[in-house]
Amino acid sequence: MVPEFGQFALILAFCLSLILATLPTIGAARGNLLWMNFARPLSAGIFVFLALCMVILGYAFVTDDFSVQFVAAHSNTLLPLQYKITAIWGGHEGSFLFWTFMLSFWMLMVSIFSRSMPIDFVARVLGVLGFLAAGYILFMIATSNPFDRVVPLAPQDGSDLNSALQDFAFIIHPPTLYMGYVGFSVVFAFAIAALLSGRLDAAWARWSRPWANIAWVWLTGGLALGSWWAYYELGWGGWWAWDPVENPPLITWLLGTALMHSLAVTEKRGVFKSWTVLLAILAFAGSLLGTFITRSGLLTSVHAFASDPTRGVFILGFIGLTVGGSLVLYALRAPLIRNESTFAAVSREVLLLVNNILLVVAAASVLLGTLFPMVYQAITDDLISIGPPYFNAIIVPLAVVLAVALGIGPVCRWKSTSLGYLCSQLTRVAIASLVLGVLVPLLVTLEFSLSVSIGMVLAFWLFLTIGRDVVNRVLSKPDRWQALRTLPASYLGMQLAHFGLAVMIVGVCLTANFSMEKSVLLAAGQSIDLGNYDFQFNGTRPITGPNYIGDEATIVVNHNGKFMRELHPEKRIYVASNSPSTEMAIDAGLFRDLFVTLGEGRNGGAAWSMTLYIKPFIRWVWMGAILMGIGGITAALDKRYRKLRARDQRLREAGESLSPKPQTV
């Protein structure tokens, strides 16, 4: 009976989103205050009913209700409780419900934190989001209902959650990624609302910025967690594999990063407006495309859900409707947009334009590489695949140019900067980073490598230009300590995120160039050297987990002849699905990771195949991502947004009341 309540709640949420998609928007067009005021309570209602759906599906998992198809396919009585709950997003139907629930959560947040915006704007924003929610829920009801029953006979036990998903990262990676993905729908809704109202001004950009920042932070976190998970659970031995389903979040991230920078220009200088709106639409399209690729089954990937074509067709239609519709609206309204100022050929605007072009080109090339096999097959009927070398060949040169421009951008001034000023600021920094970037790796490794030098020069270039800019800001003030403490949060956030990129460049560059790996077959007692380490295999012992059995190996690691630690990689067989799974053993460190994966036992387990890796500086990749995330949060918390919000609110109250109160600004 309980799952039917879920069904019922889902349908109610659908009805509410249909009303939300129409009533407040029409109200905004006609100036009907009552209709517009429906937007907030309707959003709250959708959130409540979708939350109820989540609770009910969770309840079905926890109580092992295998009469529900989705539960039977993704759970098992032996599954530990935390994975029973998170199995909600372990399959197509449930993860779509979760996705839509996230959207309703963002809607609730918008309806709460929008007090300072005019009600017609809020009504339009929530109306657009309501339309999206209606589309998603309709998709669920029509093609992938998580509450579908198994009739007539429910299975005795479920077929278990995929073993690779039974892992801590699975609890947090999908929610984080979805929050980011769905967050860009909010920025999209702001852009569409601005187009609808015809008010594409600095205020719109200012309202959007914190939301874009927060969505971007979630997406950054989701990507970093996914990369970390792929590294330690999937055993790809790397932090990024250019998998077709890894790519769409990256495309969205690249477009979202471009959008954040372009929003800054629009807010501060009143230019790039139509471009910013277009980016908001594109970033949203990127997030929808991610959904399409994951769920249509058109691409072969580790992530792809087993799926049927009607789902793909529905999502494609929905993309056509929303993205096509918004582009038509954009085409109608864009000619009316006027830029409010001009800028010279050397100015911060131009460098941010460079940033935008590079990021969009990068996004487009990743998209091309991801979709090309599909298009090629449709045209020629031949199957092809595009390997990681393609993506590396494109992204690496773009990233190099981007990093160079990034060093110059913050030092540059808005509107116009003289070349002489730039040279006076950056010549010494450039020379220092060239010298350090070449010499430091040379002295440490005693050999010259061009790619390492380029990477390190760029990293030093970023570290030093960031340092230079902060010092400039502080030294120009009489009270330096005071100046340091009162640097605006948005400025600190920006520099922190840029610093994170530099840290990431160090990690990517050194991991790519100095990683070592060896696959070997070792009998118990044998050992093998790799780098300065010696790995001795001391046999395996059988282990039993809650829902799996397996073998655990003991590997003694000696560093320069001295005992360092033991590593215990495992090979598991999950009982319910009879599927094997490999658990890596990792010795994580700031400067290098040691990483062992077990292959298979030979000769009755007397010898095992295994792969050993040394990954220098790989943690820096994720540390960089964490710094970027902290930077994004810092920037979103800037006092400026709250101050201006308070001002907006006072202005509006003053405007709305018949007898304006005296203003104290």
């Binding site: 690779a164 594999a241 992530h303 031949d382 595009i386 060949a393 094997p580």
Partner: protein
């Protein structure tokens, strides 16, 4: 030309230059990194570009897997039940590599007609078949005895 026109022209040229560099790089990289897919029958008939990395899909023939005793060398046969391709691989096979299951292999065919594999990918889902394996079996007009989605052996729910 008026100054603002000139500036707009400069911006447009700038964007066009950036785009063409991007497109040029992209096309170059695409050309270098296309892996064509072939079926075992095509490989057996010699219908593939020699000396290039190719991908084949098929089933691991029952009883064909031979491990070396003291190294990670392994030989097996990929089949579409019409033709066979012998495969040589040095390394650890994916968790889900089994006889009679669908796989995709990347590598080059040497003079002896053996595919020297650089990567072996195995299916990870009981209910879904890789388009590549399916294409190979369809092309050979064989009823598929098993299913398999291709991957490096690992799925994810996102």
């Amino acid at each position: 030309m008026k100054p603002h026109r000139r500036k707009r022209l400069a911006i447009i040229l700038f964007i066009a230059a950036g785009l063409s560099v991007g497109i040029g790089l992209t096309l170059y990289a695409l050309r270098q990194n296309l892996n064509m897919f072939f079926t075992p029958s095509q490989v057996a008939a010699g219908e593939f570009p020699p000396g290039r990395e190719i991908r084949i899909g098929g089933m691991v023939k029952e009883g064909s897997v031979l491990h070396a005793d003291d190294s990670l060398e392994v030989r097996f046969v990929a089949t579409d039940y019409a033709s066979d391709v012998p495969i040589h691989y040095q390394g650890i096979l994916p968790d889900l590599f089994r006889e009679g299951q669908g796989i995709v292999v990347e590598g080059q065919v040497d003079r002896a007609g053996v595919l020297q594999a650089s990567r072996v990918l195995a299916k990870h889902d009981e209910n879904y078949m890789s388009p590549e394996v399916k294409a190979a079996l369809d092309a050979a007009h064989v009823e598929r005895p098993g299913y398999g989605q291709v991957s490096e052996g690992v799925p994810d729910g996102t």
